[in-house]
């Protein structure tokens, strides 16, 4: 495996943050 741990970390962080932000987005939608 040609490991690129930093890039892997960034992509996993992007995925995780997106879904976490989805929860905040749902809360914002509920307040509109």
């Amino acid at each position: 495996l040609k490991t690129k741990p930093m890039i892997d970390f960034i992509f996993i962080a992007v995925i995780t943050l997106f879904f976490m932000a989805g929860g905040l987005y749902a809360r914002w939608c509920g307040k509109l």
């Binding site: 495996l1 040609k2 690129k4 890039i7 892997d8 992509f11 996993i12 992007v14 995925i15 995780t16 997106f18 879904f19 976490m20 989805g22 929860g23 987005y25 749902a26 809360r27 939608c29 509920g30 509109l32």
Partner: protein
């Protein structure tokens, strides 16, 4: 447009109408936690065991926020799981070809693609994915992403059908029941049927076959260290060929073009480095093997669309016969069509369910006929070159299926959010290619992706009812519920996300070096390729105008983000709308209540879809396929 095509179209519509009610009735049982099916004796213990293992309290329902949060959490975990498998596939079993790990950006794109039910593929399946990746990373998502879409649709329908409650069902129960009772049994039957048609299903290494007649290809020359060898050459551009008088030479009204060196400001030739190519004799063919039938069954039924092989359903293994082709198209629409019946059943207004189905079928027939007509009419420039006009545009089409079945498949796969292809959409005529592009930009609400099509169409239903209310000066009502500002805000938010994400990313790529570098065609067709890619990603379709090379860090990443936006940022406001509708009290129907069934409603709904949904894209479509069509008529291709 041959008679056989008309007969096949009629057969397809009749078959779809025939399965809609049984599928809808079955969905009613599956989507009821206490519903009964024929599979209860076998699957009920498995269902209970699954809840026990997952710690799910099956009797406890969720409000819209809890339901949405459960869906987001499940998608997060499954997406990261897939990313890990793809990055580690060379260490994992069931990899007889010894295929390497995917690059990080390709793994990100693919993990997101399958989590969102898009199945956009920036890779060729047979040359990239191990059997384990195909089955564990990809096929599982084909089940769970489809089940997620159906679960969301069920929650939205419950929001419409219920009143004075906050509860919309239990996401985990819906996910498990749809997977166990609906998708797995049908896929088991379909997979066995596909094997009977000649589709492969094995774990064998790829077969090597010696060619009867060898041929030569050009490959990039490499040095001793394996690095590509390049050389410096002049950049050539096309210019009109001039006659003795210095006038452009014309043939049939078209200027004859020749290659000439491009000059810089000083009149010197512009030079560039290009790869040195060498001839390579090919004497063997590699024939793909693997667990294909099981993957294709769910790929179509779950409107996922990701091909086991790069040629997708144009490959004779992946679509062996006319019957398999017909069944694959029918299975793309089967669940989405049944969900319209489920809507009618749950809201106790079956005429409403059939009216929504009727609106969808009107758009489906319009798209199919336009695409078929454009492809059957063909390209006049081909005809000037002596290619028989009667054959239509056969470029990029599998001759086993011909013009009609290619046009029908292209329409079905983009009406739904499937994205499987049995012909290459990039090779369609401008108007033929316009149809799949436009279908995706409408939000894939014509039958649509499993679940996603229905909840997308219900957004338009809410807007249609709202517009009707504005026109007659009454508070809009939908099935006994008042439609108020919150519902309209949520409906518009989901539509704005669709068009802003498509247009925003397409505009960015169209003016960026990284975006233009992926193009194989210039002019309006190049714009269509970029637009198609982002429409496909945001619409969670997955088909492509494959002249675009999208397996680059920028395209993989931006398309991945577009897929996430197109799936989840649209679901959240739609769930909020459903949650709000569920809490409302029922108002008795009066003489002023706008009926949500019948011809007037269907026309209003179609008008809303076309005016509210489609007008957003008219300017960019004019710059892409529409201008390309008129330029084709003038003899110019891209």
């Amino acid at each position: 447009m041959q008679t056989s095509g008309w007969l096949q179209l009629a057969l397809f519509v009749v078959a779809l109408a025939a399965i809609t009610k049984p599928m809808g009735l079955y969905l009613t049982q599956v989507l009821d936690a206490r519903g009964r099916t024929w599979f209860d004796p076998v699957l009920k213990p498995l269902e209970r065991l699954t809840y026990w293992l997952m710690g799910v309290r099956a009797g406890q329902e969720h409000d819209w926020r809890q339901y949405t949060w459960a869906m987001l959490l499940f998608s997060l975990v499954s997406c990261v799981f897939t990313y890990a498998i793809l990055r580690l596939q060379n260490y994992l079993p069931l990899n007889p070809q010894g295929l390497g790990a995917l690059t990080p950006h390709l793994a990100f794109n693919t993990a997101v693609s399958f989590t969102t039910n898009t199945n956009w593929q920036s890779y060729g399946g047979e040359s990239t994915m191990s059997y384990l990746s195909q089955m564990v990373a990809l096929a599982i998502h084909n089940f769970t992403s489809a089940a997620t879409g159906i679960a969301i649709a069920a929650a939205v329908v419950r929001g419409i059908a219920r009143h004075s409650t906050r509860l919309l069902g239990n996401f985990w129960v819906d996910l498990v029941r749809v997977t166990y009772y609906l998708l797995l049994p049908i896929c088991l039957v379909l997979a066995v049927f596909y094997v009977s048609q000649g589709m492969i299903q094995n774990f064998l290494p790829y077969t090597k076959a010696k060619l009867v007649e060898s041929y030569t290809i050009q490959v990039q020359k490499t040095d001793d260290k394996g690095q590509p060898v390049t050389t410096n050459v002049a950049v050539m551009v096309q210019a009109p060929k001039l006659d003795q008088n210095g006038q452009p030479l014309m043939t049939n009204g078209v200027a004859v073009m020749v290659d000439v060196p491009q000059l810089d400001a000083k009149g010197q030739p512009v030079m560039t480095n290009v790869a040195v190519m060498v001839d390579q004799k090919v004497e063997e063919q590699t024939i793909v093997q693997g667990p294909m039938a099981s993957q294709v069954a769910i790929k179509m039924l779950g409107t996922n669309g990701g091909g086991y092989v790069n040629a997708n359903a144009a490959h004779p293994f992946e679509n062996p016969t006319p019957l398999s082709n017909f069944l694959q198209m029918l299975s793309i629409f089967a669940i989405g069509s049944g969900l319209t019946y489920y809507l009618g059943r749950m809201t106790k207004n079956q005429a409403h369910g059939w009216s929504v189905w009727g609106a969808m079928m009107t758009l489906f027939l319009a798209g199919t006929l336009l695409c078929w007509w454009a492809e059957a009419k063909g390209n006049p420039i081909h005809q000037q070159l002596g290619i028989a006009a009667a054959d239509g545009n056969l470029e990029g089409k599998e001759v086993r299926f011909g013009i009609f079945n290619s046009a029908l498949f292209a329409t079905v796969t983009t009406d739904a959010s499937c994205g499987a292809v049995n012909s290459m959409h990039d090779s369609f005529t401008a108007l033929g290619g316009f149809v799949p592009l436009f279908n995706m930009q409408l939000g894939e609400i014509i039958i649509g992706g499993v679940g996603a099509g229905l909840y997308g169409m219900l957004v338009f239903v809410v807007l249609a009812v709202f517009i009707a209310g504005l026109m007659v000066g009454r508070t809009p009502e939908y099935l006994g519920k008042k439609i108020q500002s919150f519902e309209v805000k949520m409906a518009m938010l989901s539509l704005l996300i669709l068009c802003l994400t498509i247009l925003g990313f397409a505009a960015w790529a169209s003016v960026s070096q990284w975006g233009l570098a992926g193009l194989n065609n210039n002019g309006p067709h190049g714009l269509s390729e970029i637009l198609y890619a982002y429409s496909s990603a945001v619409g969670n379709n997955g088909s492509a105008f494959a002249g675009l090379n999208a397996n680059t860090p920028w395209y993989d990443t931006t398309l991945g983000i577009a897929m996430l936006f197109g799936r989840f940022l649209m679901i959240v406001p739609i769930m909020a709308m459903a949650g709000s509708l569920a809490q409302k009290k029922l108002i008795p129907a009066s003489t002023g209540t706008f009926p949500v069934s019948g011809g007037t409603f269907v026309v209003l709904l179609l008008g809303t879809v076309l005016l509210v949904g489609a007008l957003n894209f008219l300017p960019v479509l004019t710059l892409g396929p529409i201008v390309e069509h008129f330029l084709m008529l003038q003899g110019k291709l891209f």
